[in-house]
């Protein structure tokens, strides 16, 4: 494409970034999409930053489309520099990411060589090579460069490109966990194989060697020496993560589980070794005893516990893995009239994509041709396939069932609904529930406090304890350190939260944060917006009442024919109603709209009037007995219209915003959860009451103007209630924000996630009850975990310190302490995993 200043279309083409101009000395232009611009000031800032760059001829930033159109001199400035300038202002540039495996990296300088080659490729914004995983992560502008060109750059630098070892960070994380698990298991086996004979030899009397190895004998001292040597690798290799972890934490002035175990197992080993090497320094012979079994067995148990915990933890995040695996890999794009299979990363907005039966819809878009049924359950949680035809939105990652269709891509890469859902779920899983603040405060003090308790217990036993005091003091010190389990406390909330939020996503319930999840379980009142939440949101035909000599269908046919070209929602409802009954509309002549009254027209030679009672009176039509019928319909919340044919009344047609099929059962479910259900609407009292009766709502706030909804929510809160508000997320944003938990019912791919705490993806009202049930189940699980962890530590530490000894002579062996500690954190994670079995009540049946 050549640049021609007079050619407007040419400029337009380039501005749209379809084909960049990279010839020397020729201005290039590019369209960059920018994320994170919320106000016009942001847009101005970006525009100014771009215009201030050397080589930029002009930059225009469009806030509503979130794009920058830049014309620049390709010799002076590169696209990545433009992107860099935008980033410096604190915004993100819409880019695609690609991870590829690289073979043949042998030296440190390879990294910078490949990175340079990639970064100098036009259109590449950033490239980072990771020598550890032998892969490169390349961020690029899909309109400017494609994956092939990126790969060519690597090949050009002298390296081979392969598939990355693992594509998603989650996958890599999984691989890392597996390696970690394998290592831990090896450490466990080594420790247990050494630990069991060492433990047996620690009690020669029990294994019949008491006479061979009497206390104080040289033989026993030699055996002890062997035990010390045997346990050394356990301490230094199997236990190395404790020392590394403890040292790292210590440098950061913190202490964790590693600190406790490291001090515990090394104290036991050092005391024993001193007893073997220098028995004479002890004032009495029986003080020279060994605890090598403690070192080996405790290490074995704790390492085993860590391995089991790791296994269990990797299951807690199955939901997000499932979501990520939904992403389609390729898309069949029609470019220049040809079908072409390309990686999904290279699909750009505006591409026409063909989807055959059984295939995945690769990205979000709008159907342009064909029709089919699409299974959207993976995203919306709705199990029934949805019919799609021209003009309907399709969601990426859903599965096409019956027919083929083409659609135009409207959202790609990280803008797709699936990507947004994944991001939101990840953020929510990592967020904190308020209940954890207490735990956090405790966690900061926990480990040093345990060490202090250990020292105090040592001092107490050494000063006041029975003989041999030193032995008892060492045993309680080691036991206290080892039984304390900060992990159980720390894991209690996040693991349950992770499972709960993931479970929500599986059911089409997106929970924004731990805060939202926790508040949702406290709700005792729920406000439902009427229009679009309880009802469908647009009127449809409900009643046809004949009072003259025409049939129902004829009456409807005439009325619909009058309204044929109508854009009024009431008229559209009548026309749609007639279509559904299979009536072929007639031609209407002399159409006239009478504002505030209705319409008139001539259909099939007969004069028709359609409107309210005022129209009938003005035209002198006797309404007679139909008036009562009209009032009855109005009482039901419907809008009745009189129909007159040739000057005499023929009947009534009523339309109404109909209640969604499952609204009544959903409201019953909410009441069943003990919630007060309130309906809020701008409708008049009568209509509102009619709908409320139909769905079983007792409390109605009618005639509330939209601006006032938030105020009404506030009033409910002043009654001392925790209020949840359910709306469509667009008109109700202030009320959603005012409510303790705002829930938006999403429609299509524009899920209003920001406005709400919980988003019900294209959900029906029944998901509200499911969301509350889920939050209650999750919070119950968290409380069980926390209760367990606090009780465990609260009982375990004093018992280990020997508090029961004066009363019952009971003292915990450090080995029992180790077993308890190892399995307490496994129990917490296992309990959190129980949540994975949770099912919403409707499915439970």
């Amino acid at each position: 494409m050549e640049y021609d200043e007079d050619d407007d279309e040419g400029i337009l083409m380039k501005v749209r970034g379809v084909e960049p101009v990279c010839e020397m000395g020729v201005p290039g232009s590019v369209r960059l999409s920018i994320a994170g611009m919320t106000c016009w000031r942001c847009a101005l800032r970006v525009e100014e930053a771009l215009n201030n760059m050397d080589g930029v001829e002009s930059a225009v930033v469009n806030l509503s489309s979130a794009e920058a159109f830049v014309t620049y001199d390709t010799r002076k400035v590169s696209v990545s520099e433009l992107a860099g300038a935008i980033r410096k202002e604190g915004f993100d540039v819409g880019t695609s990411c690609l991870t590829m495996g690289i073979k043949g990296m042998r030296c440190a300088s390879c990294v910078s060589k490949i990175e340079d080659a990639l970064n100098s490729t036009p259109g590449v914004v950033d490239a980072v090579v990771n020598p550890a995983s032998e892969s490169a992560r390349v961020e690029y502008l899909p309109g400017l460069v494609d994956a092939d060109t990126v790969e060519q750059a690597v090949v050009g630098a002298g390296y081979a490109v392969g598939r990355p070892s693992a594509e998603e960070p989650e996958d890599r994380e999984q691989a890392a966990r597996q390696r970690e698990h394998a290592t831990l298991m090896k450490k466990f086996w080594l420790s247990i194989i050494i630990g069991v004979p060492v433990m047996a030899l620690s009690y020669p009397d029990y294994i019949g060697l008491g006479e061979l190895l009497p206390r104080g004998s040289t033989a026993l001292r030699i055996v002890w020496g062997f035990m010390g040597l045997l346990t050394l690798p356990v301490l230094l290799w199997a236990g190395n993560q404790f020392f590394i972890g403890a040292w790292n934490a210590f440098r950061h002035r913190s202490a964790d589980m590693h600190t406790l175990i490291a001090i515990g197992i090394s104290s036991a080993w050092i005391y024993s070794t001193v007893a073997v090497l220098f028995p004479w320094i002890f004032p009495r012979a029986e003080l020279a005893d060994v605890f090598y079994d403690v070192t080996a067995i405790v290490t074995a148990l704790v390492v085993l516990g860590m391995a089991l915990e790791l296994r269990a933890r990797s299951r807690t995040n199955e939901a997000i893995k499932k979501l990520m695996s939904l992403q389609a890999r390729t898309a069949r794009v029609i470019r220049d009239g040809k079908e072409e299979d390309i990686p999904v990363e290279e699909v750009v907005v505006g591409d026409i994509i063909l989807v055959r039966p059984g295939e995945k819809v690769p990205v979000d878009g709008v159907v342009t041709e064909g029709s089919s049924a699409v299974d959207e359950s993976m995203v919306t949680g709705e199990s029934i396939p949805v019919e799609k035809s021209t003009g309907d939105e399709v969601i990426g990652a859903t599965i096409n069932k019956t027919g083929s269709f083409k659609f135009r891509a409207s959202k790609v890469g990280k803008d797709t609904m699936l990507s947004q859902i994944i991001r939101m779920v990840q953020d929510a899983q990592g967020s904190k529930a308020p209940i954890q603040r207490v735990v956090d405060r405790v966690a900061g003090y926990f480990v040093p406090t345990v060490i202090i308790i250990g020292i105090l217990a040592f001092m107490a036993w050494f000063t006041f304890g029975p003989e041999p005091q030193l032995i008892y003091a060492v045993v309680v010190f080691v036991s206290v350190l080892i039984i304390a389990c900060p992990c159980a406390l720390g894991l209690a909330t996040p693991t349950s939260l992770m499972v709960g939020v993931g479970k929500g996503a599986e059911n089409g319930i997106l929970i924004k944060s731990g805060d939202a999840l926790e508040t949702a379980h406290k709700l005792n009142a729920i406000v439902l917006d009427k229009t679009g939440t309880i009802t469908v949101g647009r009127p449809s035909l409900t009643d046809v009442v004949v009072s003259g000599g025409v049939t129902e269908n004829d009456l409807l046919l005439y009325a619909a024919s009058v309204e044929r070209g109508s854009e009024h929602p009431l008229g559209e409802a009548i026309v749609e109603g007639a279509r559904q009954r299979g009536l072929a509309l007639l031609k209407a002549d002399n159409f006239k709209a009478i504002p505030g009254h209705g319409v008139e027209a001539v259909v099939a030679g007969r004069r028709l009037l359609l409107g309210n009672i005022k129209l009938m009176r003005a035209e002198g039509v006797a309404t007679g007995g139909a008036k009562a019928g009209a009032e009855r319909l109005a009482d039901e919340g419907k809008t009745p219209m009189y129909v007159a044919i040739d000057g005499s009344l023929a009947g009534l047609i009523a339309v109404a915003d109909t209640v969604k099929e499952d609204s009544a059962s959903a409201i019953r479910a909410l009441k069943g959860l003990g919630l007060e259900v309130v309906m809020i609407t701008g409708d008049n009292e009568r209509t509102a009451q009619a709908i409320a009766r139909e769905v079983g709502i007792d409390r109605v706030m009618a005639e509330v103007v939209p601006e006032d909804k938030a105020h009404q929510v506030r009033l409910l809160q002043l009654e001392g209630k925790k209020v949840g508000m359910v709306g469509d997320g667009i008109n109700d944003a202030p009320a959603l924000a005012q409510a303790d938990v705002g829930m938006a019912i999403g429609t299509g791919t524009d899920v209003a996630m920001e406005a709400s705490d919980i988003t019900l993806v294209k959900g029906s009202l029944s998901k509200v009850a499911t969301a509350i049930e889920l939050s209650r189940a999750t919070m119950r699980n968290i409380k069980e975990n926390l209760f367990g962890a606090f009780v465990y530590n609260g009982l375990g530490i004093p018992v280990a310190a020997g508090l029961l000894y004066p009363f019952s002579g009971m003292l915990l062996s450090p080995i029992i302490a180790g077993a308890a500690m190892a399995f307490s954190s496994v129990t917490v994670v296992t309990n959190a995993n129980r949540l994975r079995m949770w099912k919403p009540r409707e499915v439970r049946g």
Binding site: A49, G84, A85, K88, E89, G90, D92, V128, N130, A132, S133, R137, P169, E170, R172, E173, A176, R177, R179, E180, Q241, I244, G245, W247, N248, A249, R251, H252, R253, S254, A255, D256, M257, L310, R313, Q426, D427, Q429, G430, S431, K432, Q436, D440, A443, G444, Y445, P448, I451, I452, I455, L456, F458, M459, F462, T463, P486, C487, G490, P494, S513
Partner: protein, 125 residues
């Protein structure tokens, strides 16, 4: 008797040292470098955050680049609870967290379990 007094005295000194070291001593922070409009700091995640106190100016965007150099699952996420931000930190990969502390104050960041902690100190200016 004398040994008991010595041992108890040593124990008390240890307790005081532990309390001081972990709770009462203040850590010095590291100021973030400014490049362009963004304040940047590079944090290594290994047994903790190094550096773990980052000093920035309030009202300006901050980019914190985390690099996790350990396999322990404890540190696989960093959470900024005041900003509702949480990021997965794959081992050996640089992950940027971008936030703007609008008001001066201390903002804590931590691993998911709260065992590793760091602070972002936003100063007026």
């Amino acid at each position: 008797m004398i040994t008991k007094i010595i041992v108890d005295a040593v124990g008390l000194v240890l307790i005081v040292l532990i309390a001081w070291y972990f709770w009462f001593s203040r850590k010095k922070g590291e100021a973030a470098a400014v490049s362009g409009g963004v304040q940047e700091a590079y944090i290594i995640v290994k047994g903790g955050y190094t550096p773990d106190v980052i000093i920035v100016k309030a009202g300006k965007p901050v980019r914190l680049i985390f690099e996790r150099r350990e396999a322990s699952p404890c540190s696989e996420r960093v959470v900024f609870k005041d900003f509702n931000v949480s990021r997965l930190l794959p081992e050996g990969e640089k992950v940027a967290v971008e936030i703007t502390p609008e008001r001066p104050g201390e903002y804590e960041f931590a691993c998911q379990m709260g065992m590793f902690r760091g602070r972002l100190v936003a100063e007026a200016g």
